[in-house]
């Protein structure tokens, strides 16, 4: 049984790192990279052999409605693979970046706890257990945002911590009402009992979960913490937060609860569409005015999350396919853009676009990979972002919602405009930058090149033969929740 090891390995790594860390970061780096590589291989292996079936694991061998169970299906494995790939590149990028802040193992221990929390949220089948894992991930995220120890970082972390706690309390109240009406905490069991209760209960729980997890996903009215937290954190952590955390804690849980447990109720899908449309437009307009590169990228996260919500809200096969595909693509190109911003910050000591200049000669890898990522995020054809946005737009036209398609197109154009600004001022500006000291190490370059290659390679997922093997099982989990519920009967 591979399932529990996705939680055991990072948790164990975190504790061993704290025990044998000493004063240097050698053990921290070695252990955390080993743990992540093992988990990446395991997650890809389990996706290859078991993507069409639902596997459950009962902790301590308690029967399913009584004990806590872990559930593995195509959706959770897909998110698990994204988490571990981004985490590996983020660790590679961290090795040198974090040495500028402190030569210590604490960062790696916290990083492993972050991975534990996210893997747990993705795998668990028990709604209160999900809450506990979510808190583990959030705690380490608060600490990692403040890791640099500057005044702004504490400010951002405090803001994030307050917003996070408020949303957690709302989620806890939601769980309490769920338990009071259904007398169970196993999500599959809730899914069978909830349709028999009064509709008002589902609306109440839905509203609480929508606000709680929407806050974690930073959809538009709940976004206030994101630009501060994501722009103040160290660059590899910004990549983790923006690329993975808001998806594992926000989008994944929203998909699981609203599609598998509640069974895709029409009113919630309409709310998703409205939230998505507002996020796309307002996020990108706020991003246009930014001159701080990381803050600009953080606002774009809000806007891109909007696309995923829009795809989810459409709720058809194509819409969900676009949402799932965009989830993968956004994780890849947004992490890459944060690495680019981080490498420029290390080399030039600034995040202000006006102070950068022509970096194509002095930082060839950062500037060329940033061009690839910018083209991907603005949806230019050979790269992955184009295909996922195209699928979402086609899905909108298919269900006769032309205004949704129109908003998606406008958002994409404005994204292109703001990334023209990044390229024009940040990497290909007029100011000639003198020869700079080469502070960008080999690891950082490997991390950036890997993700840039993935930007191109993942667009192959749209080819019918490959799509049927990789993306279709994931979409089927969302379209047909009976399989997720059947795990109760099966065991």
């Amino acid at each position: 049984m591979i399932l529990p090891y996705f939680i055991i390995i990072p948790l164990l790594a975190a504790f061993i790192i704290t025990l044998i860390g000493g004063k240097k970061d050698t053990w921290g780096i070695a252990l955390s990279i080993a743990a992540i590589v093992i988990m990446m291989v395991l997650s890809i292996y389990s996706f290859v052999i078991g993507k069409t079936e639902t596997v459950t694991y009962s902790m301590s061998n308690w029967d399913i409605p009584i004990g806590i169970c872990l559930v593995q299906d195509a959706l959770s494995l897909f998110v698990l693979i994204i988490i571990n790939i981004i985490a590996l590149t983020s660790l590679l990028f961290s090795i040198q970046y974090i040495r500028h802040l402190s030569p210590d193992w604490k960062y790696y221990a916290l990083f492993m706890l972050l991975i534990t929390g996210m893997n747990g949220v993705v795998l668990t089948g028990d709604i209160f257990n999900l809450f506990v894992f979510m808190e583990i991930a959030l705690f380490s995220a608060f600490a990692l945002v403040a890791y640099g120890g500057k005044a702004e970082e504490f400010e951002a972390s405090f803001k994030y911590a307050i917003m996070g706690s408020v949303s957690s309390v709302l989620i806890l109240v939601g769980i309490a009402i769920t338990y009071a009406t259904t007398s169970t905490l196993t999500m599959a069991k809730i899914a069978t009992i909830l349709p028999q209760t009064e509709p008002i209960v589902m609306l109440m729980i839905g509203a609480l979960f929508m606000v709680g997890f929407g806050l974690k996903a930073a959809a538009m009215p709940f976004h206030a913490w994101l630009p501060d937290a994501h722009s103040s954190a160290p660059a590899p952590i910004s990549a983790m937060l923006s690329g993975v955390l808001i998806k594992a804690l926000g989008i994944y849980v929203l998909m699981r609860i609203f599609f598998n447990v509640f069974g895709a109720v029409q009113i919630f899908k309409e709310i998703f569409i409205v939230l998505g449309a507002i996020s796309i437009i307002v996020g990108v307009i706020l991003a246009l005015g930014q001159w701080d590169m990381k803050r600009l990228l953080a606002y774009h996260s809000i806007s891109q999350i909007g696309y995923i919500l829009l795809g989810m809200g459409l709720g058809t096969y194509l819409g969900l396919l676009g949402a799932i595909f965009h989830l993968l693509n956004h994780a890849i190109f947004k992490s890459l853009l944060f690495y680019n911003a981080g490498s420029v910050e290390i080399a030039l000591g600034t995040r202000n676009l006006k102070e950068m200049g022509n970096l194509t000669k002095v930082m060839p890898i950062s500037s060329s990979t940033s061009l690839i990522a910018s083209l991907s995020i603005s949806g230019i054809p050979p790269f992955n972002g184009f295909f996922s946005k195209l699928i979402i737009i086609i899905a909108a036209l298919e269900v006769n919602a032309p205004w949704v398609a129109f908003i998606a197109i406008i958002g994409s154009l404005l994204t292109l405009a703001s990334f023209m600004k990044v390229q024009r001022y940040g990497f290909r500006g007029e100011k000639i930058v003198e020869k700079i000291e080469d502070k960008i190490g080999l690891n950082m370059k490997i991390a950036m090149i890997t993700l840039a290659v993935l930007c191109v390679v993942t667009s192959a997922l749209i080819i019918p033969g490959i799509r049927e093997v990789i993306l279709d099982p994931v979409v089927n989990v969302l379209l047909d929740s009976s399989k997720y519920i059947q795990m109760l009967v099966g065991s």
Binding site: I162, V166, S168
Partner: protein, 112 residues
């Protein structure tokens, strides 16, 4: 029913504090109050009047019992809240060292 309403009022008191107070410590206390309200809510759902604690004792097998699961959940949730509060207080101390104030309106280098 009245206890549920009072519990909801307690929750709103916490929310009001988070939204309107300017002092970091008062905000942290308000988050704590919200958490207490949520925990109380869970416990209230488990409570039944004229019932007995859920431990098997001789001679009391036939009594009706309160639901033990929410009590276990509340214990977990209290530990999590302790962690949150400790982290928030640590951040508040650091913020005081950097900005020399607890006033949230003066702690605003990040904006835009």
């Amino acid at each position: 029913m009245i206890v549920y309403i009072l519990c909801f009022v307690l929750f709103l008191v916490g929310l009001y504090g988070v939204l309107t107070k300017r002092d970091l410590v008062k905000i942290i206390l308000s988050v704590g109050i919200m958490g207490y309200a949520a925990n109380l809510f869970l416990i209230l759902f488990a409570y039944k009047s004229d019932s007995f604690y859920p431990i098997l004792t001789e001679g009391k097998e036939n009594l009706s019992r309160v639901d033990p699961l929410p009590q276990a959940l509340v214990l977990t949730s209290i530990v999590i809240e302790l962690g949150t509060t400790a982290l928030l207080v640590a951040l508040a101390i650091k913020l005081y060292q950097k900005y020399k104030t607890f006033d949230i309106t003066k702690i605003r280098r990040l904006s835009g």
